[in-house]
Symmetry: C2
Subunit: 452 residues, 2 copies
């Protein structure tokens, strides 16, 4: 039975596989800081070439896309979307081991990007290794699309996919994400919210001023920013942009049914993050599950102005800025939000607040009962101890709408993440055990794609 | 005529004097960062001892006070209040030469603290040098009180002065400040506003969270901070603390008369700081002069939360903080403001916002027609090209109320600052020409104190 041999191959090559993943994670590739991007793209290209893929590093205007293609036995084509860029590692002082020095502790591998998404990418390669070793060929055609700007809103991906529809086309797309939930159940995450990420900037003078001189008479950039932000969302969490909620499509009955089957997250979140409670006083598992993903957000991700060191400095800041992300639900678009934001700020007297567009994309979802989702669920059956949970929409974002719009493909998941992975935060990690399971699951997805 | 000899001594020792000042400025002494404090106190003590002062470095619980005393010919005692601490030098990238490497360019000496207030302190020493060289003794008793926490609200000065009233007592106090205005006229600044400096801190979770996961359902520290700040002051600059404006004493008719004699600052501020206009639409010189110093303020001096680097990071911050200074006018007190602030935050649902008291003191003023002020004005007559402007109240703060409360002394000014000095900002500097004038002015103050 070939699956048993494939599993044994994965198990017996485990140390080599983790070593290869560690090399990939040791390469910084922070798109926001333009750090190590070209070098990491080359590592990805080399890894695909080593598996017999025909590889191109394709310029996009930003980070290049690494495209790799290898024909298989069957006619179906599986597209694998991954990204080689990672979130900034800051704040560095909160890491127990340096973010770009991958370290194994207590059965987990720690490194920036190991969960999001280098580990998932790598687990797919290692599944392919096993199949090639045991079967001699892939069961289906496989195309890798590995971009380098996912963490900054995939700012160049849409024109790239639009202009390369024939090159990239296929039948099913396995997305960059893949994880078990906090109870250990594998998941299929078939919908992602959209995002619109902006920086709001205010400048009120050509330089900072002594706060004694200017406090009563000079405009203050920090106050301007606070008032502008305050105008965006009230204390009851209502986002105040005109028309913001108009295009929103509520969850379907089937989606609500699936959300109702998900585990109760209330106690888990309270304990894990030390929360006293949830926004809007939510205290019901289904209400929390719906609110978490079927409502759009306006989140301040960062604030900066004036003096931020120890103790006091009596300065009146000339500059202030905020990072703000809007998570979008169907059918909101980033373009709508940018227009609403500008109009809102102008109407409220904040013409002086500049909006810097840092990227975005609409949300998108796959039918949770699509045959491709069923295939991914089936592939997990004998790998994990528990049945797969199909999650119709998650809180996070990604450019899956681009793949759905231009390639018309359903989206499925595979990977090595779990609820301790701390993606986007210090001490990001994956479980070594789940890494092996992720390899085995993806190997089964590939085998089943032979008959798709 | 001894004044001519004293002036010539000051002129002929100018390079040596600037070298000594530069050594003092090369010593970092940032109270907010506890950086170089002890070493700078020792430099100050050494400088006073070199002039025959009996010196004590007196512990206070924070930075020590350097006290130096030397008897003179007359009975009157002049108290000289200075501070050896300086503001933090950040942001470092905006300095044209390093803040602790004093550098002369175009007739100015650049260094952190050179204007506020090491240059003034030093000019007083160099006036004393000239008098001692030419006269053999001081015309009056002189006591130096040089503290090391002025830039962090003189947090330990009040108990120190209270407990040492006999040691510190005298007839007149020359304050740390001293400058010509932007038209070159010398000034006597006889009133200072009070200050209450706080840090507001919010923590909503035990760590930052992915903004996709938490945006709709988790409390966000940055939003909590923005809303709390917004509740403190409205967009029309009304400070909303209950009772905040109750104890305020408006300017007297004499103070308004003096303010009316000050130069029109509207165009100067517009051009110098690149301002489009002033708060509350003020467009009248007297209205601006009154508003600038006879109204209390609530100034955001700094904001910090979450991701502040290049580009985007999709994080929901668990912590946020703001530095806020309130400038107080008679008869407000920092204790009142702290109590009002806590009550206000609690009433508005911000029990979660912690207030860290970073120090403060009430304001205080000297009668602008006091004989000591007349003495200081007379001392300036043949030093500067223009008559002195008596400024009844300035926007800045300092612990002069402590000296008035415990020692009952009038406050006068002398020094080397000007409107290009950029105190508290990058590229702080003094004019070398005004430094020499500052020495000569203080020498005359001392000589006149012989007959006080």
């Amino acid at each position: 039975m070939s699956l048993a041999k494939i599993d044994r191959y994965i198990e017996s090559h485990f140390d080599r596989n983790i070593a290869e993943l560690s090399r990939l994670c040791a390469q910084p590739s922070v798109a926001a800081q333009k750090w190590g991007i070209e070098a990491c793209a080359q590592l990805v290209a080399d890894a695909l070439e080593a598996r017999g893929f025909a590889v191109k590093i394709i310029p996009t205007g930003g980070s290049p896309v690494v495209f790799g293609e290898r024909a298989g036995k069957g006619d179906a084509t599986l597209i694998v979307y991954d990204h080689y860029d990672v979130q900034p590692p800051e704040p560095l002082e909160l890491w127990d081991s340096p973010p770009f020095e991958p370290t194994v502790r207590d059965g987990r591998l720690y490194a920036r990007g190991v969960a999001d998404n280098k580990g998932n990418f790598s687990s797919r390669l290692h599944a392919i290794d096993a199949i090639l070793a045991e079967e001699g060929e892939l069961p289906c055609n496989v195309k890798f699309v590995v971009e380098g700007e996912e963490e900054i809103g995939s700012v160049n991906l849409e024109p790239f996919v639009r202009d390369n529809q024939e090159l990239l086309g296929g039948d099913v797309c396995v997305w960059e994400i893949g994880r078990v939930d906090h109870l250990g159940a594998p998941t299929q995450m078939v919908g992602l919210r959209g995002i619109c990420y902006v920086e709001l900037r205010v400048r009120t003078a050509n330089r900072d001023v002594h706060s004694g001189t200017g406090g009563s008479i000079f405009p203050n950039a920090a106050w301007r920013l606070v008032w502008a932000l305050n105008s965006l969302k009230d204390q009851d969490e209502n986002i105040l942009l005109p028309g913001f909620y108009d295009p929103i499509i509520p969850p379907t009955e089937r989606e609500k049914e699936l959300l109702g089957q998900l585990p109760d997250m209330l106690d888990y979140y309270r304990e894990e993050f030390g929360l006293k409670g949830f926004l809007k006083g939510i205290d019901d598992p289904l209400a929390l599950a719906v609110e978490a993903v079927y409502q759009p957000t306006c989140t301040i991700c960062g604030l900066t102005s004036g003096y931020q060191g120890e103790g006091s400095k009596t300065v009146l800041p000339a500059e202030a800025s905020a990072k703000v992300d809007f998570r979008l639900v169907p059918d909101q678009t980033p373009e709508q939000v940018l227009a609403q934001l500008r109009a809102h700020l102008d109407v409220h007297g904040f013409e002086d607040v500049e909006i810097v567009d840092l990227g975005g994309n609409p949300g998108a979802k796959t039918d949770p009962d699509h045959p491709a989702v069923q295939l991914a669920v089936k592939a997990a059956e004998d790998v994990y101890d528990q049945p797969t949970r199909v999650i119709p929409m998650i809180g996070g974002s990604g450019p899956n709408y681009i793949f759905q719009k231009y390639l018309g493909v359903p989206i499925i998941s595979s990977g090595a993440g779990d609820s301790d992975s701390r993606v986007h935060a210090p001490n990001e990690s994956i479980s070594l055990d789940l890494y092996e399971k992720g390899c085995k699951h993806f190997a089964r997805v590939l085998m089943l794609m032979g008959d798709y």
